[in-house]
Amino acid sequence: MADNILELSDVCADIDQYHILHGVDLALPRGELTVLLGRNGAGKSTTLRTIMGLTKVTRGELRFQGQSIRGVPTPAIARRGIAFVPEHMGIFSLLSVRENMVLAAIGGAMDEARLDWIFNLFPPLKRFWDKPAGTLSGGQKQMLAIARAVIEPRELLLVDEPTKGLAPAIINDLADAFEELKAQRVAILLVEQNFNFSRRLGQSVAVMSDGRIVHRGRMADLAEDEALQRELLGLGLGAHQ
């Protein structure tokens, strides 16, 4: 058990009266980066939200570090060590960049070294430190969202499409950052459409369709297997990246 930080077994979840997840089975190895793939509407984002306790779980079990987190309120889940970057980023647009970061550092003061590391990664954050976050550009908001998630050390990072809207140079830097986090034995669950990016980072991979996991395996195997890609995702992943 010790090597899986998070385990989902047969998780079903509803949004309002709609059944969105129909039995998700997923295990995240500690310190590895797992990529979650799937078409639009497959339920990837919902899976992440379910882990955070943001949707109604109707069946199944979720275990984080061996303990059940089903029914645990979101703040408590977060404090157990899971950080989450939602797909709409969830920037507090009225707060300044600094205040956004202050909030993210639940431990109290921000660690200077870590902050420097972040500034290095995303220079615009330093530049707009005291500006209202709402006036940042789309990509800058994405940077801030990621920065908030990593300002403190966490056990598990859930990231929903981080490269969306980022310029290529930044994407490269971001990949480096994730590499570093991996090196610190942080487990990461990454939803990503940019296959180049996820292939570079991913160790294991899961593919979703229609609210279920339809494939699990090593990233390397999927990356080789053009036919499997076609079957699972409708298209070779090499195209258009």
Partner: protein, 348 residues
């Protein structure tokens, strides 16, 4: 992406000349500018000793209005809850405070000694704040909680809730007016150079300023302030960061109600007579104040209250009939000039 072009507030003008600074005032510090204009123009319309009395009284009245408005501004600015039951909480505070003074501590309140008066007043104000806060906790749980994020429903349930609170006041305290004699030390006026200033108004000014400073500090300087401001935008994101937003909002709401209660106790002692619906008396002024200042800005609320206090007195002297219309007119004029109020906070 927001399309509203935001005006420059940080566009620091490097010029330092006094004239240049004055010229930049309307844009950079509209609240100071407006307050100055409103206070200076009437000098030419009345004897200057009258002007002095009215100005001092007006500022003191503004302080009293601020005591009442700050709570509403707080709940609105921080939680985006439009609490139209605020007036009911003002009444509750007035009744709770008065009960302390009239029933429990009447001996101290009536004694001619200042110390004894303080023994009565401080607990009375605390009781007013505490009772209102407690009621606020209940109110938040039962009435407000289901309608976070929906202004329209907030308006409805809080108006409904205020009807209930007013009725409960009558059930508990009976439906007659209750006289609340002011403690000896706060009666009468200080006469300085032929100008009389009521002592009670001085107390209002002191309390108002203290509260203003305290609130500013909490909201702008503390993590609590940041957190609450964040919560207005997205409760979900605050929870994702690991904070229990529910508790936080409960506390803020109770705080807002406590301020209303305190304001009510002050107001009750000012009128020396408390009536069930007295809390609604100033609601329009309160609403004008929080719009004028820019919804949710404590600083704006303070300046707005001062403006309303002054305008009320000046116009009350020049043409009493127009006093009510004048403050509303001032508000509309300010909004035409600055659509978000003097110090905008929330972009709604």
């Amino acid at each position: 992406m927001s399309a509203a072009p935001t005006s420059s507030s940080q566009a620091a003008a490097p010029r330092t000349g006094l004239l240049a600074r004055l010229r930049a005032l309307p844009e950079e510090r509209p609240h100071v500018f407006l307050l100055a204009v409103v206070a200076i123009v009437p000098i030419f319309l009345m004897p200057w000793s009258t002007w002095l009395v009215l100005t001092l009284s007006g500022l003191a009245m503004g302080a009293m209005v601020f005591l009442m408005a700050s709570g509403m501004s707080l709940t609105f600015g921080l939680m985006s809850v439009l609490n139209l039951a605020h007036g009911a909480f003002i009444s509750v505070g007035a009744f709770a405070g008065a009960s302390m003074l009239v029933y429990a501590l009447s001996g101290y309140a009536q004694s001619p000694s200042l110390a004894a008066n303080l023994v009565a007043i401080v607990p009375a104000f605390l009781a007013a704040a505490a009772v209102a806060a407690l009621l606020g906790v209940v109110f938040e749980r039962l009435v407000i909680r289901p309608v976070y994020g929906d202004h329209l429903k907030q308006i409805l349930v809080t108006v409904g809730g205020s009807i209930v609170i007013f009725e409960l006041i009558e059930v508990i305290w009976g439906h007659h007016d209750i006289p609340v004699p002011r403690p000896e030390a706060l009666r009468g006026a200080l006469v300085i150079g032929g100008i009389a200033i009521e002592k009670y108004r001085l107390l209002a000014v002191v309390l108002g300023l203290a509260l203003y400073a305290g609130l500013l500090w909490v909201i702008e300087r503390t993590r609590l302030g940041i957190l609450i401001r964040a919560g207005v935008e997205s409760r979900e994101m605050v929870e994702i960061h690991g904070y229990r937003i529910g508790l936080l909002f409960l506390a803020v709401f109770a705080g807002g109600c406590a301020l209303a209660g305190l304001g009510g106790a002050m107001w009750g002692l000012y009128r020396e007579m408390i009536t069930t619906h007295m809390g609604d008396e100033l609601m329009i002024s309160v609403i004008v104040v929080i719009i004028l200042g820019g919804l949710g800005s404590i600083r704006g609320c303070f300046y707005g209250a001062m403006l309303v206090g002054l305008v009320n007195l000046y116009v009350g002297f020049l043409e009493p009939r127009l006093a009510a219309v004048a403050t509303v007119g001032l508000m509309v004029a300010v909004l035409m000039w600055r659509p978000q109020g003097l110090i905008p906070v929330i972009k709604v």
